[in-house]
């Protein structure tokens, strides 16, 4: 991709102009006007890369399309167009058994530990399920692996026969993490892994995620709306708005000197747990645009104070400004 910032490490995952549209079935389509097919453009042309052993934070508010992007990367939803390169291979064309084999390298941890575990499965079955899906091609015994992984994430040894409802929220999320680890993947997509957890448990899980990243050499695609969490977890940040990426760069640079006007507004509305630093309110007028009918040109222009004429007509592409990628017509 032209203009891509040099990654520190080798590239593991690359998305090229990824799009995911959901057709809106509005009753019986009018045969007289077939072109009126509405689509929800959840992800509308996204390109980024994740390096090996690197953590990319995907930040956006609700409606930005970040969850859909995560699912598309995992091929849980087939992308409408675009490519996803994993270790150099385009995975969007994989089907059937090839796709299944690919899944060993990419795993997922979802937001809600209550709904991401089957309430009728015991812990050892939940964690071993990915292993059992690939039974023929495994080396060490399943039980051993399960207990190793369970220990690695801090689950109690005697818990293997228990059901999810017997565990606390934090422990359930640990089970989900163990399940993601058990196939020794290279990439884990984490979709708001701590948003549904209590504040006092959140730090435990974040520390755990950092520890296993180092221990197992994993790459993370860390999806969240919480800027503080992503600050702690990510090497680089990609900011998403209305289905497109507006800024990508190293965490420090983006958070300390945001360039895109949306990023500026976003960062400045994040409350600090310190009464001495009040919020400098950059109030955004307007609302998050509808995914059915996004604004023309730059999607952010209706809410941007610095909108120019060109912002209304032409969509800005990601270009290099000050060592990172920004999608804006302005130069600073």
């Amino acid at each position: 991709m032209s203009g891509e910032v040099q990654l520190v490490t080798e590239q593991l995952l690359e998305a090229r102009n990824l799009k995911k549209h959901f057709p809106l079935r509005s009753g019986i389509s009018n045969p007289l006007r077939p072109r009126q097919r509405l689509q929800i453009r959840a992800v509308d042309g996204v390109s980024f890369a994740v390096g090996k052993k690197e953590s990319l934070g995907l930040v956006g508010e609700s409606g930005s399309g970040k969850t859909t992007l995560g699912r598309a990367v995992l091929m849980l939803e087939k992308p409408s167009s675009g490519q996803i390169l994993f270790n150099g291979v385009d995975i969007t064309v994989l089907r059937g058994e090839d796709l299944r084999q690919l899944r060993r390298k990419m795993q997922v941890v979802f937001q809600n530990p209550n709904s991401s575990l089957d309430p009728r499965q015991r812990m050892k079955d939940i964690i071993s399920e990915p292993l059992r899906a690939f039974k023929g091609s495994l080396t060490s015994s399943i039980e051993e692996t399960v207990s190793q992984v369970a220990a690695a994430v801090g689950l109690p040894e005697d818990g293997s026969m228990r059901f999810p409802h017997e565990f606390s929220g934090g422990q359930r999320q640990r089970i989900a993490i163990a399940r993601a680890l058990v196939l020794n993947p290279e990439l884990i997509v984490l979709d708001e892994p701590t948003s549904a957890l209590d504040a006092s448990v959140q730090a435990q899980i974040l520390n755990l995620l950092r520890r296993i990243q180092e221990q197992f050499g994993l790459s993370y695609l860390f999806i969240t709306h919480n800027v503080n969490v992503v600050k702690y977890m990510a090497d680089r940040i990609a900011v998403m708005y209305a289905g497109k990426l507006v800024e990508i760069g190293s965490t420090r640079e983006v958070l300390e000197q945001p360039l895109h006007h949306y990023t500026i507004a976003l960062i400045s509305s994040v409350p600090d747990p310190d009464p001495e630093t009040p919020l400098r309110n950059v109030s955004l007028k307007g609302e998050v645009p509808s995914a059915l009918n996004p604004p023309s040109g730059c999607r952010f222009h209706p809410r941007c104070e610095h909108a120019l004429d060109i912002c209304r007509t032409t969509e800005p592409q990601l270009r290099q400004i000050k060592g990172r990628l920004v999608a804006c017509h302005h130069d600073s």
Binding site: A203, H225, N228, P271
Partner: protein
Amino acid sequence: MERDSRKLLSVRHLETRYRVANHIVIALNGVDLDVSRAKIVAIVGESACGKTTLGLSIINLLPKPAAQIAGGEILFEGTDILSLDFDKMTKLRGTKIGMIFQDPMSSLDPVYTVGEQITEAIDVREGRMSPRPKGPFRRYEAMRDYRRSHGYSRLLGDGSSRIHEKRKYSEEATDALKRVQIADPERVLAKYPHELSGGMAQRVMIAQALIQKPSLLIADEPTSALDVTTQAEVLGLMRNLRDEIDSSIMFITHDLAVAAQVADRVAVMYAGEMVEIATVKDIFREPIHPYTEGLIRSFPRQYKDEGRLEAISGDVPDLRSPPPGCKFHPRCKYVLERCSKEPPKLLDAGPDHKAACPVRCSS
């Protein structure tokens, strides 16, 4: 304990119990709290700490018969409102004490426009509409009153031909929306709740609650369902309201950072008990209770390469079988033998600073 007449709300030893399946859960275990006029007090805590129960107990909207107030008193402007009968409490609710909830979409009636709902609140205040019609034909009477006051000629059946009529909403409704910083009030008044964004809907909720000019507004996680950019605006709005209208706000939240930005005083709850109360500056600068301290320290603030977060070990206790003595002691790093024996009380830890930890208060 002196009954300070300047205090708007004084909760003393409030105990609320829930019946869950066949356990009795003590949701509030002797909670004390004071709220002064025109101040924002943040109630901070995690899930099942009792903060929502506290709000519901004050306004007496607990789900009965599952929940019951088992003891204590709640003094509002000097009167113990727990002793009020149903009608008096109903008059109090919505007029002097208002409440707004977490999800604005489910708190607004989807079949009425914003204007109609605001007008309804105004009508209740003006007495044109009784908040609770009595008698066997209550529903009928309520409908009849409503329609009479709005000039509908037919008693039953909505004038569905009026759907496309442009209703004129009163000046006051427009002002109500202006007060919550809604830019184009006339347009919003004509909209239905599903046409509003989350932030807008929450503002409408606040506007509705403010019609009665309550002295106390209980806000139960009002920004948790909103985006962070919208949240910042709503927080600013709340601070303005405190200054303009002189209302006190009891802001219930699980987010410490939000509390830091909006509150004058902070009360921290854990497992049904009040563990620390202080001004917002003191709480963050010098947290006394180990839970508060742990919570503040475990808030992610640093970059990835700047070292680890200090996490609190363990999990939130199950209130069906809580730990003996201090409920936090299994997770506490200052724990002593006595912590598992005596349940701690709120002790003085400094000027206007109370904490329920004998270990730390003595040092």
